[in-house]
């Protein structure tokens, strides 16, 4: 099916013009399971409180739903390379998700989702078994 001219997305930017993305791996320490929707709200509120709308926009933050592992309570947040310290700091102010107390621990940074999953979530590619 051909896309109409209005639906068309802009072409990809060349690598030098793209923003340098970083993926922050985090782990939620809590007693019970944590619902991603509530976690996302808590993280966004904390980041907006600490950094403000301008700071969040400048850091180009996005909480990735697809990467959240409910069993391990681990996930990834995307931001640009200059905003990583701000996001790290903002996450330390999350105290509650829903009505349970939590601590969000930043495990580290990575440049790609694949590398972050291998490094922090313990995922292994088939190449590791060859």
């Amino acid at each position: 099916m051909k896309m109409s001219e209005e639906d068309r997305k802009p072409n990809f930017l060349s690598p030098s013009l793209r923003f340098k993305r970083r993926y922050i791996a985090y782990r939620v320490l809590s007693e019970k399971e944590v619902d991603f929707k509530e976690l996302s709200i808590a993280m966004w509120n904390s980041m907006l409180d600490y950094l403000g709308e301008k700071g969040v926009a400048e850091s180009r933050v996005w909480v990735l739903k697809s990467t959240y592992d409910a069993e391990k309570k681990m996930g990834l947040i995307r931001c640009i390379h200059t905003g990583t310290e701000n996001v790290r700091a903002a996450l330390s102010f999350v105290q509650k998700v829903g009505d349970q107390s939590v601590v969000i621990q930043v495990l580290g940074l990575s440049g790609t989702i694949k590398a972050a999953k291998q490094k922090f979530f313990g995922e292994r590619s088939l190449e590791a078994f060859v």
């Binding site: 330390s92 102010f93 105290q95 601590v103 621990q105 930043v106």
Partner: protein, 245 residues
């Protein structure tokens, strides 16, 4: 890297969780040592606290006893310091009142002046205080708990005072120490995240790391030697000096 949390409270004192719970949570967050504090005032029983704490061992974590002195004025402060100094490895003075802040900076038996801005509109320290702190080797401590427990305008004001103190300490060469000040395990924070908060208020990453690693380790090692009788308080140890002198 060896991170030390210089001030946590447990159910041996004003905290809510047991020492074991707190220490295990701290280990999960990447700390290799904690200073379990006792809130100390004129009526406290320090001996009982130390006996209970010495009986506890958790994995390979270093558990050190510390005291947080809560004094109303300088005379009381001096008296309380004399009582506890030779019993614990870390003496912290809770700041807030200017006279207490200055009294703590003047006394070389104090290790850390914690939160000099607490309960104040201003930052609680001036150049004279910080000059004395540098001379007497007193570190300025910033605890994360009060920041965590305030919101909106109060938090902004507190962060503003913290930023001022960090700037003054950096420019005048006074030691800085960061800690969680946690009273339960949910108030503990990852050391790297606390460094990131300090970084966003003008303390560069190197100094931020030393506030949670080298500075507390140096203070604890020095105090352990003094308590063991290997070193005299106020004296510097010189190794391999000039024999002709």
């Amino acid at each position: 890297m060896k991170f030390i949390d210089s001030q946590i409270f447990t159910n041996l004192c004003i905290g809510q969780d047991s020492v074991e719970d707190m220490v295990r949570s701290a280990k999960d967050l990447g700390y290799s040592g904690v200073v379990v504090n006792c809130n100390y005032n004129a009526n406290s029983d320090i001996r009982g606290f130390l006996d209970k704490l010495n009986a506890i061992k958790v994995d390979d974590m270093e558990i050190v006893a510390g005291v947080t002195i809560d004094a109303k004025d300088v005379i009381e402060l001096k008296g309380l310091i004399s009582k506890v100094r030779e019993q614990v490895e870390l003496v912290i003075v809770r700041g807030g009142r200017y006279a207490v802040n200055r009294g703590a900076c003047e006394d070389s038996r104090v290790d850390i002046l914690m939160n000099p801005h607490a309960g104040r509109i201003d930052n609680g320290l001036d150049e004279a205080c910080l000059g004395l702190a540098k001379k007497n080797n007193v570190a300025i401590g910033i605890s994360f708990r009060p920041i965590l427990k305030t919101y909106r305008r109060q938090r902004a004001q507190m962060l503003q005072n913290v930023a001022t103190n960090l700037k003054l300490c950096r420019e005048l060469g006074v030691k800085i120490i960061g800690c969680s000040g946690a009273q339960n395990k949910w108030e503990l924070r990852d050391a790297r995240q606390m460094i990131a908060v300090a970084d966003s208020f003008g303390l560069d990453l190197g100094k931020g790391f030393s506030a949670l690693t080298t500075t507390p380790i140096e203070i604890l090692q020095k105090n352990k030697k003094i308590l063991a009788g290997e070193q005299v308080r106020g004296a510097e140890m010189v190794i391999g000096g000039n024999e002709n002198v």
